[in-house]
């Protein structure tokens, strides 16, 4: 696929990652427009179903962004999310989607820089991986 532009869904927790995205905004720190943010109250709210639906509809990459470890507003939502991500990664491999397309990241509310950096890195990585098998299939 020429000029492949991946579509990446970022599920961001309200207290940290979503705020960090706002920080990136107010500091005008550019990151690729490929990243689309969906707000969730806590990264622990991320459902395997949400992730899988995103891939099913054609996402090339998904990441879940929560608070730094130990900083979760709801005590341990982010560590739960991380475990769930590990589980979904295995499942993705089973159905033939590279598990690298799914990531868990941690950013604190003040880390606008890191938010932009992570968004850029993940977009680069997914761009190298190419379109997801589902998206390729959908396009045909």
């Amino acid at each position: 696929m020429e000029n492949f532009e991946p579509v990446i869904v970022a599920f961001c927790c309200h207290y940290c990652a979503y705020t960090a995205a706002d920080m990136a905004g107010s500091q005008r720190l550019p990151y690729p427009p490929n990243v689309k943010i969906v707000q969730i109250p806590c990264s622990g709210k991320i459902d395997a179903l949400h992730i899988v639906t995103a891939f099913e509809k054609g996402a090339d990459g998904v990441y879940v962004a929560g608070c730094l470890e130990g900083d979760c507003h709801f005590k341990n939502g982010n560590t739960r999310a991380a475990r769930r991500i590990e589980f979904v990664k295995k499942y993705l491999e089973e159905i033939g989607i590279e598990s690298e397309r799914l990531e868990m990241v941690n950013v604190s509310a003040g880390m606008g820089h890191r938010f932009a950096q992570v968004a850029t890195e993940i977009t680069d990585k997914i761009r190298k991986l190419g379109p997801s098998p589902i998206r390729t299939a959908l396009a045909q």
Partner: protein, 1014 residues
């Protein structure tokens, strides 16, 4: 009679001077307790010093994120009138009836019109200046992105072409003819929290601060680290922009009387400040950077601060040098700076090169505040801080005028927050007492029933000045949005949050009978409440609005790619519409409030809190475990400052016992607890017969205290010459004749504290040792007193007593944890052997008295039991854990619970009293309500789908779900925190989180791809 539930009189307000963190806390506490406040700040936005910090200790969190919710416009209470750029000119009158002259400087911007679009800043970016000197300020300026008010300010003196500036503003808000305004204000009481200045080291030429750009103050270093600072968060040497490899911090600049012009006191927060900066620096650059702190005593005496110090040493490899720096030099042809210093155990001078040197500058009161304080008749101490009551540090010498924060004395943020709440309590109590008027209760807005209607969405898209409109074509977005399913109206709305646009939107909702609203604009974090309120006014349930954040997530971050930004903005709007269509009206959970208060613990803290609340008309149940009131204070005689504790406690007990609103239970044991915030039921057994009684209450205050520690060390309880400091005080007081015969007295600090078993500092012992040493010398000036210490932590004004003890000949000898003193019995005396670094040899002193500074430990058995009954968190060492160490230091994570005094952490009696006043203020913010609004975001179980598998019960971080009598999981909406963890764990998908229902999240994902795939 507007905005208030009390009868309007002229002086039913509290004036709060200073809009820093402390002033804001005071104002919010009062406002939430339904009391009217006028908050004035001389600056053009509120926020004070904290907004300049990069992060705060000990959580190393970003400040802006923690402070922003306190400041954002929508959160501001209807009881607060905010006046920026305003100073107090004069105060006359007395408590209950002050008359204040306020002067407001011209802002040259009309706040009603300014939308904070930033056009003026963009056009005039040159010569931006920030307070600490490293950053710059434009002729028009907003200090930080989340500033309140959300508007700019103009420095007209700097502007060369005023007319050009006026034209730049699309809202026409710039008014060069603005004039100063004088206003007379009547108020009942005044809280002064104007903050303090930082010491200016420019005059100390040997430190080279004025000469060498790489010598910076700690606040300037903070600005360099800060993402919103001059280097956008890159750590660079100011001289030449290279990344430093070695950084030194020099402590006590402007404190402890060390330099010319320095205060005699310890500035209290600088040790933690330096630790934080060193840790953050290490965190970011790890092995690439060396950090060294030059210090005399590390004063990490706050709650769990010692652990922070240990982390800096052990985990981050910050280097600590106990030393006296001599000078900072810059040799020609060298990039870096040369620091010369001596170490405390030798006279040799050392030299070391550093790329940057950070001066940890202390606090001092500003000339302005000194002048104001003097003008309004406050007495100042020798250090130019206000003289305050010995047992109530927020009360000044003038009734009705209170102080809080760094103006009261040097301190860190948690202590500032506690004092701010305490000041709110005291100042609020001076207001005339009026019964709440029932009729004035806010009229419940009637929301339209939309259950039978098809979704009818209105999309309103902001251009936010240039912020959105400058990058993408808003009309293009409007056209696109109009074609989306269910969208009835799509409009461009300029500045959606401006008053005019809000009216337009409201009108459109009403005329078109819309039942869903989507705003394409900025962040819901800052503006959702505003639009929710608008929906309420327009007759819609407030949860039927959704914001697409096309500014922060598209135009601001993709400004260089207008095409992509436009596409993304369209996607974001489509996602929001998809989600809004699925939105359902939700009801806020609310509960009736029970206005009784249970205070657990009848020491000074518990009694003080009980009295304050009883005076406000609330019924108090005071439960004390022992058979009498007074707690640990019964064993104290005098404070360091010489105030009589016994008389104070006796008076307090009498007041409590004579107060009709306080019911005291002694020998009381809490045995069971149920209910929810606002309507608790607690069972206790009390009295000699242990009668059971259940109490209904809305608020619980924990003031259970701590124990004085008694480790079996250094022959304590084996030799008659060995006493704890507490026993020493009593002995000296009771037996002056015996004390007169003492030749040698030895005191050992940190006995049972700062050890691997009990790593924290007990905070009170250093001043205790000084107090007893001075008392002994007063009786027997010939006695030789040795204090064997690790770090002398006489923080704040205590430092002056430390200096006094030194000048009276008390010998302070340092020891290490590895080489503690040795104690051997010698008849009725003891031989104490220790190493003297200056003499370089072991010394043995035969002591007539050995006082052990054993400090405090948590009352582990008691706190463990209470924590179990009430389901409350504790620290590792057994103290109750507050909700947020900085921002909510006396609130617990469970709503309706508060903690104060030594149950929170070791502290002095006056500090405990301050916390007691603070909890009283915090409790009033709940008790003022007739019901408690818990929001709508709670998890809800569908009983038909639930298999009672217990997964939610185990997953909930707050232990909320339980299996009810019908055999399925039930989640109490009043206890649910709304994280949604149970929802994602539930295998049967039987749980939904309101406001974040799965179908709404999925709708966003589906809409996104529908658009892309189309």
């Amino acid at each position: 009679m507007q905005n208030s539930n009390t009868i309007e009189t002229q002086n039913n307000k509290v004036l709060v001077v200073g809009g820093g963190l402390g002033g804001i806390r005071t104002a919010l506490d009062l406002a939430e307790a339904d009391k009217d406040v006028v908050l004035v700040d001389k600056d053009f936005t509120v926020g004070g010093l904290m907004t300049q910090l990069d992060r705060t200790f000990p959580t190393n969190n970003c400040d802006l994120c923690t402070i922003a919710p306190h400041l954002s416009e929508s959160n501001r209470q209807e009881h607060i009138e905010l006046m920026t750029m305003t100073s107090v000119d004069n105060v006359t009158g007395e408590k209950g009836n002050f008359s204040v002259t306020l002067i407001t400087k011209p802002r040259y911007i009309n706040l009603e019109k300014c939308t904070a679009c930033g056009e003026c800043l963009k056009q005039f970016p040159e010569c931006v200046r920030f307070n600490p000197g490293l950053d710059h300020r434009a002729p028009t300026c907003m200090r930080y992105p989340q500033a309140t008010p959300q508007a700019f300010s103009i420095d007209l003196a700097k502007c060369t072409d005023v007319q050009a500036l006026v034209k730049v503003c699309p809202a026409g808000a710039i008014n060069p003819d603005d004039m100063p305004i004088k206003r007379e204000l009547k108020c009942a009481s005044i809280v002064l929290s104007p903050g303090a200045d930082l010491f200016d080291p420019s005059a100390l030429d040997y430190l080279g601060y004025a000469k060498f750009p790489d010598v910076v103050t700690s606040l300037e270093y903070e600005r360099i680290l800060s993402a919103s600072g001059p280097t956008a968060g890159k750590l660079l040497c100011p001289s030449n922009g290279r990344q430093p490899k070695k950084i030194a911090w020099i402590q006590c600049i402007g404190s402890r009387g060390l330099q010319k012009g320095a205060g005699a006191y310890c500035s209290n927060a600088c040790c933690m400040f330096a630790l934080k900066e060193a840790i953050i620096t290490k965190e970011r650059f790890q092995e690439d950077i060396e950090t060294t702190i030059f210090y005399m005593d590390m004063r990490t005496f706050g709650k769990d601060y010692e652990l922070y110090l240990n982390r800096a040493k052990d985990d981050y490899g910050v280097r600590f040098l106990r030393s006296r720096p001599h000078s900072i030099l810059h040799h020609e042809n060298e990039e870096n700076l040369t620091l010369t210093y001596t170490q405390d155990d030798s006279t040799k001078q050392f030299e070391e090169k550093f790329d940057m040197v950070v001066l940890s500058t202390g606090f001092k009161t500003s000339e302005d505040t000194r002048a104001l304080a003097t003008k309004i008749g406050l007495q100042l101490n020798d250090d130019f801080f206000p003289v305050t009551d010995g047992f109530n540090p927020v009360a000044t010498t003038k009734p009705g005028i209170y102080v809080a924060g760094t103006f009261q004395g040097p301190k860190d943020i948690p202590d500032t927050m506690v004092q701010a709440s305490a000041a709110a309590c005291m100042a609020g109590a001076d207001l005339p007492f009026f019964a709440k008027k029932q009729a004035a209760e806010k009229e419940e807005e009637r929301a339209r029933d939309i259950s039978l209607e098809e979704p009818k969405v209105g999309v309103f898209i902001c251009d936010c000045g240039e912020n959105i409109g400058g990058v993408i074509n808003v009309e293009d977005l409007v056209e696109d949005a109009a074609k989306l399913p269910y969208v009835a109206v799509a409009k461009a709305e300029g500045h959606g949050c401006s008053r005019i646009s809000m009216q337009n939107i409201r009108q459109t909702i009403e005329e078109e009978q819309l039942n869903r609203v989507v705003i394409g604009g900025c962040s819901p974090r800052t503006h959702l409440t505003k639009f929710q309120d608008l929906l309420g006014k327009a007759g819609l349930n407030k949860y039927l609005v959704e914001i697409a954040n096309i500014r922060d997530q598209a135009t601001w971050v993709h400004f260089g790619m207008p095409g992509e930004a436009t596409t993304k903005a369209k996607e974001l709007i489509k996602m929001a519409v998809g989600s809004a269509v699925k939105a359902q009206p939700l009801a806020d959970q609310s509960l009736p409030m029970n206005k009784n208060v249970l205070v657990v613990g009848g020491g000074v803290t518990g009694m003080t809190a009980a009295l304050r609340l009883a005076d406000q008309g609330f019924q108090i149940y005071l439960a004390e475990r022992s058979d009498k009131l007074g707690g640990l204070a019964n064993k104290l005689i005098k404070t360091l400052e010489g105030d009589d504790v016994q008389a104070f406690v006796a008076d307090l007990i009498a007041k409590v016992q004579n107060n009709k609103k306080i019911q005291v239970f002694t020998r009381a044991l809490i045995v069971d607890h149920s209910g929810m915030p606002g309507m608790f039921k607690t069972g206790m057994q009390s009295g000699p017969q242990m009668f059971y009684r259940q109490i209904d209450h809305g608020v619980t205050i924990l003031a259970t205290g701590a124990l004085s520690n008694r480790p079996s060390q250094y022959l304590l309880d084996q030799s008659p010459a060995v006493r704890t400091q507490l026993e020493t005080q009593k002995f000296v007081y009771d037996n002056p004749d015996a004390v007169k015969k003492w030749e040698n007295v030895v005191m050992i600090q940190c006995v049972g504290s700062r050890t691997p078993e009990n790593p924290n500092c007990s905070r009170i012992c250093c001043q205790n040792a000084i107090k007893n040493a001075l008392a002994i010398l007063a009786i027997n000036p010939e006695a030789r007193v040795f204090v064997l210490y690790r770090d002398m932590r006489t923080y704040g004004f205590q430092e002056e007593y430390y200096q006094k003890a030194r000048s009276q000949g008390v010998l302070f000898v340092r020891y290490d944890l590895d080489t503690p003193p040795k104690v051997q019995a010698a008849g009725d005396q003891v031989d104490v052997t220790f190493h003297d670094a200056i003499l370089g040899m072991e010394i043995t002193v035969t002591a007539d008295n050995l006082s052990l500074s054993t400090g405090m430990i948590a009352d582990n058995d008691a706190t463990e039991e209470l924590a179990m009954v009430f389901k409350l968190p504790r620290t590792v060492d057994g103290y109750f854990l507050e909700d947020h160490v900085k921002l909510r230091p006396v609130d617990m994570s469970v709503p309706g619970f508060f903690v104060a005094g030594t149950a929170h952490s070791p502290k002095l009696i006056r500090e405990s009293i301050t916390q007691a006043n603070a909890v009283a203020a915090r409790a009033q913010t709940m008790l003022a309500r007739d019901s408690i609004n818990l929001g709508a975001a709670s998890a809800k179980v569908d009983g038909n789908l639930c298999a009672a598998c217990l997964i939610c019960v185990r997953a909930c971080p707050f232990d909320v779900p339980f299996i009810n009598a019908d055999g399925y999981s039930e989640i109490d909406p009043a206890k649910c925190h709304g994280c949604g963890i149970c929802v994602s764990e539930c295998p049967a998908k039987a749980i939904q989180l309101m406001q974040f229902e799965d179908d709404r999240i999925l709708a966003k994902v589906e809409q996104l791809f529908e658009r892309i795939n189309a």
